[in-house]
């Protein structure tokens, strides 16, 4: 099970700009490295990140092997209404992981 870390405020004023930090533990193996026997280590990367805000995708990222291990993102959202932020990551084989963060807007 991948470790996910999300840092975002739990409460915000209406229309406040909030900072979101999201990280997932993943090797982001490029497919260019070789092991000690000289065999290519197969590529294994997270290819997609999505942030949903009450069911609507508000921010999306496509990752290629040029993104470092344990892909990390900082971005900003406008807090318009209370609800949930759903972050999900999908790897090249379609396996996905997600986490939800509750946000209360005063």
């Amino acid at each position: 099970m991948a470790v996910i870390r999300i840092s975002a405020p739990e409460t915000a004023e209406k229309n406040e700009v909030i900072e979101i930090k999201a990280m997932i533990q993943h090797p982001m193996e490029t497919g260019y490295r070789r092991d000690e026997r000289g065999d290519v280590i197969p590529r294994d990367i997270i290819t997609n990140f999505r942030c949903g805000y009450n069911g609507e995708i508000v921010f999306e990222a496509e990752f290629l092997p040029g993104i470092a291990a344990n892909p990390f993102l900082t971005f900003y959202l406008r807090a318009t209404h209370s609800g949930s932020l759903n972050m999900s990551w999908t790897d090249q084989d379609g396996q996905s992981w997600s986490a939800t963060h509750a946000l209360t807007v005063a």
């Binding site: 909030i18 490029t30 260019y32 995708i57 290629l64 040029g66 470092a68 291990a69 990390f72």
Partner: protein, 156 residues
């Protein structure tokens, strides 16, 4: 179900896999580096021959990166981020990595500030280029250089 953001360009999964496979077959036998031409081709594949203006995009990279496997990258685009005028897409490109495209971001107006940070791999000293597509269809570009002392791909 969550509805994905509209995809303004034809960045298909198949395309990505094909590009990846092509880059891999090129790379594995020996050394592999994209060339500045690959960077230009990647921009053309994504945006066609639409004009690119310098400005509005600020790229932040450390002047010296000791470890190319993890280099802090910040991108900020000058935009009000309103439904009428916002950044729709941001693409990060390298003239030297095995695959020219490092990442691609799609933004909605709910992204209050067009400011994104992440960590990238860099296969050597280079100038990273970022292209931002605004909701009116205009393209803006910025770049930043970093001196990489230990390149990604070379070390484990």
């Amino acid at each position: 179900m969550d509805k994905p953001l509209s995809r303004p360009t034809d960045w298909t999964r198949r395309g990505v896999i094909a590009a990846g496979t092509a880059a891999m077959s090129l790379f594995v036998p020996g050394v592999a580096e994209a060339t500045p031409d690959d960077l230009e081709n990647a921009i053309r594949d994504l945006f066609g021959d639409r004009p690119l203006s310098e400005g509005r995009v600020v790229v932040g990279l450390p002047p010296i990166a000791e470890n190319g496997n993890s280099v802090a990258l910040n991108i900020s685009v000058d935009s009000p981020m309103t439904p009428e005028d916002h950044v729709r897409q941001i693409v990060v490109l390298s003239p030297r990595n095995p695959i020219a495209t490092l990442a691609q971001f799609r933004l909605s107006p709910s992204v209050a500030r067009a400011d994104i940070s992440t960590r990238v791999r860099l296969a050597g000293t280079q100038t990273v280029r970022v292209v931002a597509e605004i909701s009116d269809g205009s393209l803006w570009t910025g770049k930043a250089s970093t001196y990489v002392t230990l390149a990604a791909c070379v070390i484990g």
